[in-house]
């Protein structure tokens, strides 16, 4: 189909008896940020490493930029950029030397200075890689992934282990890549990251895609809608709101009401005001990907940093 830079059909990857990827089907459009979200061991990295030609599929058809990964890995490598999981490079080379080194491996390359500008590493260009912080190392990795001016950039868990500030800096770079017209394939186990950055995403669990669409559409389809939490509300409050036709229940010390539309919120405030019932505060929460994951699998995705 026109516009698809990656097409994956019936992808299966087995390690002995373990099915790491279990019949996934998806495509990636040109210029989009496509994320694969899931817990450790879900099969995300195996899936992207097959697209990157680093692993061989057990079965299935994988087409990247019109090339078959099983037969045309050499052509694919020239046109894609890859930041592998737990990226590492030469400790005793400077940032600039590392980028130069990897640039020299390709026929087509972007000037090192342009890459240093792109990932904002000008001030660190003469620092040995070993002396960089985790966030700066990832930025070097992204610069190296861009060195051959690729059409598709794979970023495999680029923010794992980074502090919140460094994570946000990597997010800015990913947004910039999208602005440059690059297609970005991102794997992550941070639902916030996937939700903020992705045009479309797939949620993966036990080797299978359990949801696959835009973040908004996934949340709409699999989320609980909008939740109103009345902190320190009582059973009397819950019963009062139920009597108004709302879907409410007492959970621990709070009253949880799942709202169908905005009018439900007006009813809640009106009832609270007229009854004079005691409560601490009212919170309104939209469903998140974490809630979707919890709902679909019965377990949490990951503890957030």
């Amino acid at each position: 189909m026109a516009g698809h830079v990656i097409e994956v059909k019936d992808l299966v990857k087995r390690y002995g008896d373990l099915k790491a990827v279990d019949g996934t089907n998806f495509h990636v459009d040109k210029g989009e940020v496509f994320s694969i979200l899931g817990p450790n061991g879900a099969g995300k990295t195996t899936t992207v490493e097959i697209m990157e030609c680093l692993r061989k599929p057990t079965s299935g058809t994988i087409n990247v930029l019109g090339f078959d990964v099983a037969k045309e890995a050499r052509e694919i490598r020239k046109k894609v950029g890859i930041l592998p999981q737990e990226f590492n490079t030469y400790d005793l080379l400077t940032v600039r030397e590392n980028i130069d080194y990897f640039g020299a491996m390709f026929d087509r390359r972007i000037p090192t200075q342009e890459l240093l500008d792109a990932v904002n590493l000008n001030e660190k260009e003469d620092v040995f890689y070993k002396n960089l912080s985790g966030g700066l190392k990832q930025r070097v990795g992204v610069a190296i992934a861009m060195v051959n001016d690729p059409e598709i950039i794979f970023l495999d868990e680029p923010t794992t282990g980074l502090d919140p500030k460094a994570r946000r800096e990597v997010w800015d770079i990913i947004r910039d890549l999208k602005k440059r017209g690059k297609t970005v394939i991102l794997t992550t186990h941070y639902m916030e990251e996937a939700e903020i950055l992705s045009d479309r995403l797939a949620i993966m669990n036990d080797g299978k895609f359990i949801a696959y669409d835009t973040p908004r559409a996934i949340i709409k389809e699999h989320g609980y809608g909008t939740l109103c939490v009345i902190k320190s509300g009582s059973r009397a409050v819950a019963d009062m709101l139920k009597a108004q036709g709302l879907n409410c229940e007492l959970k621990e010390n709070d009253v949880h009401c799942w709202m169908q539309n905005k009018a439900d919120l007006q009813i809640i405030f009106r009832q609270l005001e007229s009854s004079g019932a005691y409560y601490d505060e009212v919170l309104v929460k939209r469903s998140s990907l974490e809630d979707v994951f919890l709902r679909l699998t019965g377990r949490h995705l990951v503890e957030e940093v």
Binding site: L54, R55, E86, L92
Partner: protein, 364 residues
């Protein structure tokens, strides 16, 4: 294959090596320390002396002549012990290994010629020097007997060197140190760097580029050859400056070093492929190189080893490198050198092919 990529990797490898001061120091210090240690040991072998404690209880003339004969041997250093000293106690208190007692009747017995004049040689037989001291004392006794009996010398030994250029022991051992350096450098470098790059993910990153495994392996093998040649130069320079070594650098020797480097680089690749991590690869490399270090003739001549160990040595690549280097650098035996070079060349092709074929950058 792209030469440009190999040259870029070679340049970067050299740059990283220079920046790793510990690696630079040990790469050159190890062979230089070996040559200094062996040089010090072997250069002193020709003029070694052994101490002989002598208690002269004889007031006569012949005991003095006998002692003078021992001193003239040039091998023994004579330490005189008082005649009233208790021999057993003296030996114990002074950790003496060779003690000669000349009895009070020595001159009298020699003079009247009717009775044998005994001297008593007490020795710690566990000491290697005991046989040397015993031989010297016996030689002086024989000489004394010949002079006293007025016999004519019928047989004499005219000593001459087998090798050319007036070579010393250190010259013979230097090729062994070159072989040893090539082995340790190449095996430990290759297993170390392969295991490290695999575990740290550098291979994973390299595998995302058009740079191939063969290009990378070729670059690192070339680097090891260059590094070993630098070590060899430092070994020869130190040998010449401190121990006056005499070596002939031949084209066969150069080819032998290149072939040896490829053999041991291939061996390093194979070791790292079958090891779980860097630590186990390092241990495996030690297990394989240590026997070769001692059984391939680097430190000891193969002829001095039991026959079964000599058979084991025949299956060790380092044996052919050591033998070949000695053939061409010391003995000038081109035919034997070419045989050893041929064996090394075949092993180099086999080891590099296996190493390249089985090495991997990513999981399946």
């Amino acid at each position: 294959m792209k030469i440009d990529r190999i040259l870029v990797d070679l340049k970067v490898t050299g740059k990283m090596f220079i920046r790793n001061k510990g690696a630079v120091f040990w790469t050159f210090a190890f062979p230089v320390l070996l040559i200094l240690i062996f040089g010090a040991i072997f250069s002193g072998m020709n003029d070694a002396t052994y101490t002989l404690y002598v208690q002269d209880n004889d007031p006569g003339l012949y005991s003095d002549k006998f002692i003078a004969g021992l001193e003239e041997s040039g091998v023994l250093e004579i330490e005189m012990v008082d005649s009233d000293a208790n021999v057993t106690k003296y030996i114990k208190d002074n950790s003496v290994t060779s003690f000669l007692v000349i009895p009070a009747n020595f001159t009298a017995n020699v003079s009247n010629g009717t009775q044998v004049a005994y001297v008593e040689l007490l020795q710690d037989q566990t000491q290697q020097s005991s046989s040397v001291v015993s031989s010297v004392v016996n030689a002086v006794v024989n000489n004394f007997n010949n002079v006293l009996s007025g016999s004519v010398e019928h047989i004499s030994v005219d000593s001459g060197a087998i090798v050319e250029n007036n070579l010393s022991y250190i010259d013979l051992f230097l090729p062994g140190i070159i072989g040893l350096t090539a082995m340790t450098n190449c095996v430990f470098y290759m297993q170390g760097v392969q295991s490290r790059y695999y575990s740290t993910g550098i291979f994973r990153k390299l595998s995302t580029t058009p740079f191939t495994r063969f290009e990378w392996l070729l670059s690192r093998a070339l680097w090891q050859i260059a590094l070993v040649f630098m070590s060899v130069i430092s070994i020869i320079v130190v040998g010449m400056l401190f121990f006056d070594v005499h070596l002939t650098i031949t084209i066969e020797a150069i080819l032998m070093i290149i072939a040896g480097c490829l053999v041991f680089t291939g061996l390093g690749m194979i070791i790292s492929r079958f090891s779980k991590d860097e630590e186990s690869a390092n241990a495996a490399a030690s297990v394989i190189t240590f026997p070769m270090m001692f059984l391939s003739g680097s430190f000891f001549a193969l002829e001095s080893m039991p026959s079964y160990l000599q058979t084991i040595a025949k299956v060790m690549p380092l044996t052919y490198m050591n033998e070949g280097l000695r053939d061409t650098m010391i003995y000038g035996n081109a035919e034997s050198a070419l045989f050893n070079l041929g064996v090394l060349a075949i092993l180099a092709v086999v080891f590099m092919a296996i190493g390249t074929y089985i090495s991997k950058w990513t999981e399946d």
